[in-house]
Amino acid sequence: MDKKKLQAQTVRELLDIMDEGNLSAIRYKDGDVKIELERALPRVDGLSLPHMAQRVRELIDTEASASGTTQGAASAPVAQDESSDTLVRSPMVGTFYVGPSPDEDPFVKPGQEVLTGQTLAIVEAMKMMDEIKAPAPGIVTEVLAANGSQVEYDQPLFRISTEASAQ
């Protein structure tokens, strides 16, 4: 029998064994015959060096300068430039719904006046519904998350202008 053919057969059998065992590499030796198979790992797409390094660079840049500043003087709390606005944030990770059910109207719309405790939306996580309520009276100036989208803890959901209401 042809020796070359025999070895091709062996390679094919080894390949089957790799598949069965979900192996990434196989080494085979029988006398003079030595066969090594290695499966190519899948390429990661959508990731690139600039993307990754850029994020880390942002982090170390920001923090290094931040720590430099705070050493000089006590740092002020974050941005207070819109002091008349209240941001309503998500109390948990979950799905954001603007109405009680998909076919009903939203609880509130931009421009609408709301009272303290009035329901603005629902965040749902694992069948747990959490009603988002207005923390203060005012006018809803902006809905900051899309209906049905995933929101994270502390994510701003509504902007309420409290000054407008006080007028």
């Binding site: 979900n22 990754m52 290094a64 948990m92 979950g94």
Partner: protein, 449 residues
């Protein structure tokens, strides 16, 4: 292979897992509390979800938030790291119920090994040595006292639900038994809401030696040698090494075989650790099993060249182990020092703060696992581990000298650390002679060794 893994952890282990995922071409999702907005793991992952406020119970222990984040980002698996939810059977079951792979053993196995007296019975049945003790558990001091007389002193009184040294007391003789039992039981009730106790003969001046195992879903189990973790304070490990200077080859063989036996007895899968107490005569006894990756897994990686976190991911993806017990060789000697933000002089009080400058050691045979960077703020919410320095040498003394050299050049400015303390351990004669048992740190602090 898995497509996207959510890492339900923070700090250096989150970074460790993200790196392992990326090398396998798996996308990653980080979760973080508001205290960790500027943490390295958040920036290294492909996606990140804020899951709650700083207290761990509301974020890193918040099972609903984490499962929701996994479902929302389309992660097909969750790696729990160590601590937090890593040994929480309920969480592992939640993952399963939601169609998410939990990178660890089955919830039933976590449960079985989590109950200490049940685990002990399982091991006895499997023929793994346990300390002489009573098979039954007790809820009543008098009944326990009668059993204790049969067993003989000194006696270790332990809580069935115990962990981290809580609900654990030594009775030296008949005279103190009732008192110690009552205290231990009250501790257990308070800590775990369970007053079930059990009794063992106390092993005096033991060493803590543990065996690392890997088990796939096809029933293959390999033991990756042992780690000696005798250098600990209040059950907190400080220095770990592999191999143990106290183990002869024959005992090592038996211990590894027993660890494999233990895993097979419970149908274990993933990476795990069987902890043993080793007495002065070379006898060892099963203590407990940790059903997760350990902080100190890196010393095993350095002497076996097996990437434990990578293997965990491959096992979770349903792959067969690509090597057998025969392929495992312990080659050289590795030591890990845990670097904590703490003040050793003030009873190891944590030292939060902002790190302003760092110089980390590097080069041949030196590995540093950390999530710190210049400008990173260590908050008071989580544990104080900020870096692990792991070294490898051909012999134990070579490794010790390498660790000394690494610590000598390491600089962390902005918080207090235990760098000097760890350095002084490397210079201690008892440690260098390989003679330190679990009582070492107490004696070291008193200046007795």
């Amino acid at each position: 292979m898995l497509k996207k893994v959510l890492i339900a952890n923070r700090g250096e282990i989150a970074v460790r897992i993200i790196r392992a995922c990326r090398a396998l071409g798996i996308k990653t999702v980080a979760v973080y509390s508001t205290a960790d907005r500027q943490a390295l793991h958040v920036y290294l992952a492909d996606e990140a979800v804020c899951i709650g406020p700083p207290p761990a119970r509301d974020s890193y222990l918040n099972t609903t938030a984490i499962i929701t984040a996994a479902l929302g980002t389309g992660a097909d698996a969750i790696h729990p790291g160590y601590g937090f939810l890593s040994e929480n059977a309920t969480f592992a079951k939640m993952c399963r119920d939601n169609g998410i792979v939990f990178v660890g053993p089955a919830p039933e196995v976590i449960d079985r090994m989590g109950n200490k007296s049940q685990a002990r019975r399982t091991m006895m049945d499997a023929g793994v040595p346990v300390t002489p003790g009573c098979r039954e558990s007790f809820h009543d001091a008098q009944t326990a006292f009668e059993a204790a007389k049969q067993l003989g002193w000194p006696i270790m009184i332990k809580a069935s639900s115990g962990g981290g040294g809580k609900g654990m007391r030594v009775s030296e003789s008949e005279d103190d038994f009732i008192e110690e039992f009552t205290i231990a039981q009250r501790e257990s009730q308070n800590a775990f809401g369970d007053n079930t106790m059990y009794l063992e003969r106390a092993v005096m001046d033991p060493r803590h030696v543990e065996v690392q195992v890997l088990a796939d879903t096809f029933g293959n189990v390999v033991a990756l040698g042992e780690r000696d973790c005798s250098i600990q304070r209040n059950h907190q490990k400080m220095v770990e090494e592999s191999p143990s200077p106290a183990l002869d080859p024959a005992t090592r063989e038996r211990m590894m075989a027993d660890a494999v036996k233990a895993c097979k007895a419970v149908g274990y899968t993933s990476a795990g650790t069987i902890e043993f107490l080793l007495d002065r005569d070379g006898n060892y006894y099963f203590m407990e099993m940790n059903t997760r990756v350990q902080v100190e897994h890196c010393v095993t990686e350095f002497v076996t060249h097996v990437d434990i976190v990578r293997e965990m991911l491959c096992i979770a993806a349903g792959e067969k182990l690509s090597f057998t017990q025969d392929d495992v060789r312990l080659d050289g000697h590795a030591i890990e020092c845990r670097i904590n933000a703490e003040i050793p002089e003030k009873n190891f009080m944590p030292s939060p703060g902002t790190i302003t400058q760092t110089h980390l050691p590097g080069g041949n045979g030196v590995r540093v696992d950390t999530a710190i960077y210049d400008g990173f703020t260590i908050t008071p919410y989580y544990d104080s581990l900020i870096a692990k320095v792991i070294v490898r040498g051909r012999t134990r003394l070579e490794a010790i000298e390498k660790m000394r050299t690494a610590l000598e050049e390491m600089v962390i400015v902005g918080v207090h650390t235990n760098l000097d303390f760890q350095y002084s351990i490397m210079e201690n004669d008892t440690f260098r002679a390989g003679k330190a048992d679990t009582g070492f740190i107490d004696k070291f602090l008193k200046g007795e060794v």
